[in-house]
Symmetry: C2
Subunit: 288 residues, 2 copies
Amino acid sequence: MGLGMANSILKAGHTAHGFDINAPQMAQFNALSGSSGDLDDIAPRLDIAMIVVLNAAQTKSVLLGPQGIIPRMRKGSVIIGCATVSPDFAREMAEEATAYGIHYLDAPISGGSIKAASGELSIMASGRPEAFVAAKSALTATAQKVFELGDQVGAGSAMKAVNQLLAGVHIATMAEAMTFGMTQGVSPQQFMEVIPSCAGSSWMLENRGPHIVSGDYTPHSSINIWPKDLGIVLDIAKSADFSAPITSAALQQFLTAAEAGLGQEDDAAVAKVYAQAAGLNLPKGAES
Amino acid sequence: MGLGMANSILKAGHTAHGFDINAPQMAQFNALSGSSGDLDDIAPRLDIAMIVVLNAAQTKSVLLGPQGIIPRMRKGSVIIGCATVSPDFAREMAEEATAYGIHYLDAPISGGSIKAASGELSIMASGRPEAFVAAKSALTATAQKVFELGDQVGAGSAMKAVNQLLAGVHIATMAEAMTFGMTQGVSPQQFMEVIPSCAGSSWMLENRGPHIVSGDYTPHSSINIWPKDLGIVLDIAKSADFSAPITSAALQQFLTAAEAGLGQEDDAAVAKVYAQAAGLNLPKGAES
């Protein structure tokens, strides 16, 4: 998603510098931008740093690790934290940035890699008005919709956690319903012909269901996202003494998928857990 | 829903006779139609009987009980079975009807009481072509969309079970996510402002979420529907050796709601189970 977002920023006419430990992604970025460089040189000149990594640990490493950018960025610049993290962690990072005179926007992203590349993400953002002002050009270049969730860092991450709870449960429920239907003679294709017009539909069902029908598990968003994101949801829930039994049941299905070696496949592959348990044959892809 | 459907049939210019053990519903129907009468006189003259009751036991009583209509209807007439039942039960009723030369359409309905009254239901129908032909005027009058799911009775009920699995889980998941958000400072109103535009949305979330925001639990579809319908889903699943852990988790929340005395409230009241457990205050309605 970071590569797509950097591309959107370049297309909007801004200068962008990319940093990724993944060499092929860096090669693609350099081919797009013609720009590379050394972080020590570049960090003090940045207006905006968008941190598009997997989780809190990676965010902390980028911001405060041995090569961390918070101590190197100039006063009045802004850090946009895009990973899915707990509200408490977002507040912690904002305090660290503030101590250096750097603004912090709590701004988790939603929409997947295709929308990242087309500049059509949804961003759930919270932070002080100055942080929104400083971040504006990057938000405009990458997002179709920015939800402004107030001046308290943490609100963006809270809303993202709520969205991930729903999105993860809906994917696993789609898989449960589709394979349940197969036991009763409803084919995945019939399922997708009927259910999107009915009260049982969801955004995720309409988006991921076709992957199962076509047997194409090319990962737009992988199974491995969900043990992480639903794990964050349940960590937050536990801290709040909140019981989330449906989320727990969905997490278990994604964990079973990851343990079965499906972690790098598209998250619709959670259907394989159900099919395996019930002895059902899912549709095969063109290449199978 | 039966009253609304009968009204739609009258509005389409057909004659309709209504039978309900609920006296106020019968009074409303008689005020609309001016028509009542004795089942013994009417059954032999019917072209179509639509059976809009709660479950398999009620369907069986109407069709084959002491006052059952199957032995009284004429050859070539059609029975339209609209309750949510198992595919096996639908096949059993079709066999009974066929033995008397009566067509049977397996035709569960979806959409709720408001769409029933406006003739805009979705109907998931399967049965022999002759059954569809015989049922056509009633389907046209009551449904916006008829999904024709083939000539095997049981397919309609199977698709309905799939839809109910999804719809029930999505209602309970909406409640889980909304109350989880409240523990993190996301109000139900903010939730409904943001999530419907995000990947976490579902048809049920958009439909039922506003009931919680407004604190209005007037039952368009009641809590009590779900122990029944998710129970049917899990009974079918068990017969097929299919494990449906997310459905089981959602059912448990509806059962807890029913045990707490919320059975007659709108199904969005499953949020009260979460709020009660977590010590949260849901929005109050105007009358509270």
